[in-house]
Symmetry: C2
Subunit: 401 residues, 2 copies
């Protein structure tokens, strides 16, 4: 075996931090917290339709969806945001049946401009309704087929920089444009992201937890190959799916020594998954780390009322559902900690607003970038999915000719 100085060697924290700082020059997402949003805010004022419909899949939809689903139950937006992600005809027609498409604005998002799901859906929509500059916005890289189509039809286009990957694009125009259209405070989103970014890059409060956690996960990846998050609010379901993409697509790679690297994400919702996955965590093989995510204040004071008849569990009466939820989280956390051999940590999100979800998401992006440096992989590409795309294209062309 040839000697290779990187072989199994985990670099020092200082070296990793230097590499992350160097990455900032070429990887686009690091700059997003500092962007000017005035053009987006001025444009969305001109959009008058009731339904904002995003056509996009993967990185083109998961980020905005995570933020919208987090904010929706606690807010009352005048408009609604719908995501058409898949080519599954049952799902498409089921979604469209619930919409007044004449009162809809379509945001078509494809970084490459030739995502087969998104473009096929767009063609289908164009057969149903006239698409023009009044009811459509396009988000794509410069000079794609889709941005050329937009130009020919005088449709407003927001350009996505080539150096921002889909799963790192939530704070770019990909996330901000549709979110601003429904009334999300995108400046407060960027405030949250900036808070984390500023702190990390001057090695203040966000630095140490991120680099320590990344190091722990990498040093123990052979033993704990699964990383579960356990989010205690259904408002975090969208965040969970975004986490799975960010983690899986970034960290499942061949590294510089051509050895396979992987950390496998699992995303759970409490208390629902207490009745499903928890048993496996507590009694199963020790192959998982667990991160609990709690929301301290859900801005909801619905109380469990006293029952006139004996239904049991009277000790929960008078408590708010918010408190019950957090006490359930605490009890589950305690029962996992009591095992003493399951690595776990807890993240507490203060409340359900733009600032706090952005802090959570931006710190997860930094965590993934840091893990990627420790693993010595390219965190930002996805070479493994290209093979399937080529096979599909060949099979379709065979049928077509």
């Amino acid at each position: 075996m040839e000697y290779n100085k990187n072989f199994y060697q985990i670099r020092s924290n200082d070296n990793i931090f230097k590499r992350i700082k160097d990455e900032r020059a070429t990887v686009g997402y690091y700059d997003l917290p500092y962007q000017d949003t005035s053009k987006i805010k001025a444009y969305v004022e001109t959009v008058t339709q009731q339904h904002i419909v995003v056509l996009g899949i993967g990185g083109s939809s998961l980020g905005a969806k995570a933020i919208y689903e987090f904010l929706l139950p606690a807010n009352h937006y005048q408009k609604d945001l719908v995501f058409l992600e898949t080519v599954d005809p049952l799902k498409i027609n089921h979604c469209l049946a619930k919409l007044d498409i004449k009162n809809a604005h379509f945001v078509v998002i494809s970084k490459s401009g030739d995502t087969i799901e998104t473009i096929s859906l767009f063609k289908y929509l164009r057969a149903l309704i006239e698409i023009n500059s009044d009811n459509c916005t396009i988000i794509s890289e410069a000079k794609t087929g889709l941005s050329k189509f937009a130009q020919d039809n005088h449709i407003t286009t927001f350009e996505l920089s080539a150096n921002i990957g889909g799963r790192f694009s939530v704070f770019s125009v990909v996330g901000l444009v549709p979110l601003a259209m429904v009334g999300v405070d995108i400046d407060n989103l960027l405030n949250g992201a900036r808070r984390v970014s500023d702190s990390f890059f001057i090695q203040q409060d966000y630095y140490q937890p991120i680099i320590s956690k990344a190091r722990f996960l990498v040093e123990n990846k052979g033993r704990f190959n699964i990383n579960a998050i356990f989010s205690y609010s259904s408002a975090l379901e969208g965040f969970n799916k975004w986490y799975v993409q960010l983690w899986a697509e970034s960290l499942g790679k061949l590294n510089i020594n051509k050895t396979r690297q992987a950390l496998t994400p699992i995303a759970l919702i409490g208390p629902i998954d207490q009745h499903s996955f928890l048993q496996l965590i507590i009694d199963g093989v020790r192959d998982k780390t667990v991160t609990f995510i709690k929301i301290a204040d859900l801005k909801d004071d619905t109380i469990i009322p006293k029952s006139s008849e004996n239904l049991g569990l009277e000790y929960a009466e008078g408590l708010s559902f918010n408190d019950l939820l957090n006490k359930q989280a605490d009890a589950t956390i305690q029962s996992v900690k009591d095992q003493e051999d399951i690595p776990c940590d807890v993240i507490t999100v203060s409340t359900v607003d733009e600032y706090n979800i952005a802090k959570l998401m931006f710190s997860y992006q930094l965590l993934v970038s840091t893990i990627g440096q420790f693993l010595q992989i390219n965190t930002y590409n996805q070479p493994g999915v290209e093979k399937g795309k080529i096979i599909l294209k060949e099979s379709l062309k065979e049928t077509f000719t």
Copy 2:
């Protein structure tokens, strides 16, 4: 170390089959395909409300939800089925806001009768609207607090046998009653389950694939500790969640030698997760098996139309979305098979009806029972989740006094 004749020993297929046949005498779910449904069918005729609202969590909701979500897009039920599963107040109030509760029938499901989420929600509902024999049905074991409440208030109760666990209860009254209320053909469901059961127990076509797969997964559990399913239709999202519970809660156990056993489930949806998790499967560490689930005929002939302007991908035009979805599945399957070192198999579901979803679900239950026998665990209990429940109860009682 004391000699133990079971230590690391994997039993023969014949021995496992004998044990499964022996289990039938005590484990209740095996008999469900052969039950008489006339009482259920007669009762649901008397339910007149528009919204059927299930209060239940975990095994009390996941099965019916899986079947309803599978059938819904291709069917047009007169009534709708809603699940109130969680104590998350944002989610509860968001769900209730969309309902006319005066035109709702509540199906309260708790095997033990004291599930804290379900009983707390029930108390909350009773403060909002009068609950009586006209708008409520209760499903519980005999002699629980909840079934006593039902008796006192003359509310119809369907009794769940003590020997049927929540995650194996989909074909019991837990699943059948709410599904029959919205118009699902429950006899055709049982036909599907019976087809699989009959075949397995006389060692016909369903026997060999189930026992071989169970054996493979157990023999290779050290190497492949993660079992992903990749379902190619959004109609299978509910099935995916049901699978995760069935697998995780049944197979994460200490075995008869007190060694930790586990197979970890991951549930993916195609093509959405081609843009998320697929990269990790293709290029990551070889720690996963993959089962693809395709639906041959979605009963939908929506076509990708020709585009008047050049949007690219013209080779997909004229194809149905159904065909595109299945060609995407085939291309992904091929790209995984081409790796040559990822264990994978493909299940094809013929179409979206009761018979076919029941076949899929019943064969998964048999697979889990068979794996459990190979692992030498108790597949049907969940001792690990009790600790958290006790901690919660103590913490609530402290606050209460």
